[in-house]
């Protein structure tokens, strides 16, 4: 478990598979080995009007933590994160009378997973309700848990294979948590941030 940086890769008028292909070529050239696939998915539930003030629950799964279900409850004022075991999915099904899921917002990011030394790189194709939206690159540096201590290293590594489109500043979510210990829920926060952006953006309309 280390620090993870999630960044969007500009598509530059290329389709999703082309982007992934280019990136995997670059990362393989650096000496990485592919270690299976990964999948992060997100489903959003909203409370029914009878419950009063509307709240939103995002339920996310990360294949890196297969035994865990992450959920983020947005109450307007603040966001409450929760890491639970797999039974939480069943609980959400029981609560379908109070929290209804929006099918068209089901988003996921999946693709190949590479390991290169202490880094773990995941190239994800993002789809929102099975429409292609973009490419997300996740890089994890495993020996360190404090973002401030390895941000520069990560930035350099990202720029090494993303080129100029690599990030120059830490993700907004991490910016005021740079000195704290990084935990898997922080990765989930970053994914949710990106998923919400993709949902709001107009559909590119290209099938992956």
């Amino acid at each position: 478990m280390g620090v993870t940086i999630l960044t969007q890769f500009n598509t530059e008028n290329r389709s999703g598979p082309q982007n992934i292909e280019i990136l995997s070529k670059r990362i393989l050239a650096l000496g990485a080995t592919q270690q299976g696939q990964f999948l992060v998915d997100c489903e959003t539930y909203t409370s029914v009007p009878q419950l009063g003030h509307q709240r939103t629950v995002h339920v996310l799964h990360n294949s890196e933590q297969p035994a865990t279900v992450f959920s983020l409850l947005e109450t307007g004022a603040k966001t409450i994160p929760l890491a639970t075991d797999g039974l939480f999915d069943l609980l959400m099904m029981k609560m379908s009378h109070f929290y209804t899921s929006k099918k068209q917002t089901k988003s996921e990011s999946k693709g190949p997973r590479y390991e290169i030394g202490d880094f773990c790189v995941k190239l994800g194709t993002v789809t929102v309700s099975s429409n292609f939206k973009g490419v997300l690159v996740e890089v994890e540096y495993r020996p360190c848990v404090v973002p401030a201590m390895c941000w520069d290293l990560l930035k350099e590594f990202l720029q090494g294979f993303l080129g100029l489109s690599g990030p120059t500043t830490p993700p907004t979510y991490l910016q005021n948590r740079m000195q704290e210990n990084y935990s898997p829920i922080d990765t989930i926060h970053q994914y949710l941030e990106h998923f919400t952006m993709f949902r709001k953006s107009p559909g590119i309309g290209m099938r992956p």
Binding site: Q65, A67, T68, D85, L87, L90
Partner: protein, 637 residues
Amino acid sequence: MSYSVNISVEATIENQIQEIQYDGTEIYQPPLTLSESLAKYAQKIDFSKTSEVDIKKEESSEDSKSDTDSKDAFQSSIWPWDSVRTKLRSSLQEICVLADVLAIAKEKRYLVLDPVQQEPLETKPMVQIYARKKALGGAANVLLAGAEKMKNSQTEAARNRTTLDFHIELLRLRQNWRLKKVSNTIIGDLSYRTTGSKYLQTGTFEVTKAEDEEKPSSPPSSPLPGGPIPSKPNSALRVSIPTELQGVAYIEVLCQKDQEDLCSVNLNLMGTAPPPSNPDMHWQQKLEAAQNVLFCKELFNQLAKEAVQLQAPIPHMVVGNQIMATVLPGIQLIIGLRHSTSGDKKQQTPPPSKSDHDHVLEHSLHQLLREVHHKNTHHPFPHPATGPLGPSKKRMLAGPLAADRHELLEMTKTQTLLEQIVQQAQHFIMRMRTEYVLDTIAKEVKDPLISSHWNTLNSPTHSCVKIHISTHGYDAVCRTPLIIHVGEKSLKCICRDGKVMNMSYEPQELRDLIFCHISQHQIVAVQALAKTMGWQALGNSNHLGTGAVEPLGNSSSCLLSSPTGDRIIAVRCEPQAGPQVSVAHSPRTDFFPSRLVTERKWEHLGGQFRDVRLDKMEGRNFLHKMELLMASLTSNS
């Protein structure tokens, strides 16, 4: 009659007082009405008495009549049922009258039945309580006396009885074993299933009542090998155990080096000497033996299953009732199930093992299966109400703590019984080898003394020994501590300076390490001694680069100079050859000018070293000799 005066007796006009109020006014009961008083008086008449009188009158008249014609009525008067007949007759009359009265009263035209107010009985609560108390006390006394009598007779009977009652025996059996009644037989269960065992073999036994006629005949008749064994004569119970659970079983653990035994352990649950399964054994011992057989079978079955499944670099072998596993190169662990049935007990009894028992290994193999049983029944708390039972506590927390894939994979790894016992055997061998090496070095090397302290507390796969290297008589001057952690397949030595040395299972490596430390100890000790003598240490090196190449390790050396600085001692210590000492004088006491050294002042630069023949010197050990040497060199100046 004419003189008689009529006295009228009347009730007082005043009515009965019902209540006196607080202001003194009295409230009277309302006077009875005419009909009420009539009813009251009529109630006081005892009609039965009058009727009896009437009957008597009738009888007497009848008697007188019968007396007159006694002769002809003789037959009737002596009829035995006469009184009964008359009584029945009078009662019939009464019933008839009652029926008539009831019939008339039902009409309500001629007769009306009014409820009559009963005069309230005067009750005093305290009197009632005393009466009841007395009555209850009496009853209690009777009961207590009866109980006492019964108890006395019971104890008397128990004291006198020689053979135990079947039911008492059954009760005892029931207290320790699981029994149930199936139709007309009593079936017991001695398997470990209630404590978490998942072994398939059933351990049922049957309990029957011992027949009385068998008792006298049992000593002469030889017991049948397979049949039911007659119980002890004074036991009223007979326990029949299935043939596969009869006899004595134990698990034999042997560590073999090639073909020669390194250690042998006889494991059985009932102590070192299994009691012979003679037919007259008490049922408790018989059941315990059978349960032991079942346990050993389960243990062996489990081990054999694992031995077949495990993918070891050198595959485990299962032949018959023996499992062979390679522990360390050249050393095999042999686990065997020995089961001797009662019939051919004498022939199969193995000779008592040559080496003494290792109770630790004996205990741990036993413990491992118990642990498995315990885990099957005891699930870690807290259980979620909706979650599955069975996963470990760590696995339960994995979800909320967001464990990643690697951690989850680690959790799935479990050690089988065989792996654990192999590890313990490896550790056992490692410990034995380390002990042997340390003991032989301590025996061989006399000059620095080597003492080893084994920690009394250790785990089955890890133990620790502390070694002190010191010189006799100088242990306050210098001592070199070493700590050796003995693991399963490796040794870890923590040296005096904090260096950690990892060694393999080969005992030679430890031996070499100790010898290196002995030579270093000598050099350090000489310097410490020199300090107390006022000598100065000019320099030292633990790994000397000069001189002949050592077969093992490096030689170490030091240079010492006397307090006045005119004498120098050089000490060189090699792990194999031991210490060498040389002495140099500067300036020399005598000076002969030569062509090269023309003046005396050059002699201050230091002279030639001359070897000291230590073996010719006085002194108990090396340090003692060095002390004498330094003392003599100091006094000379």
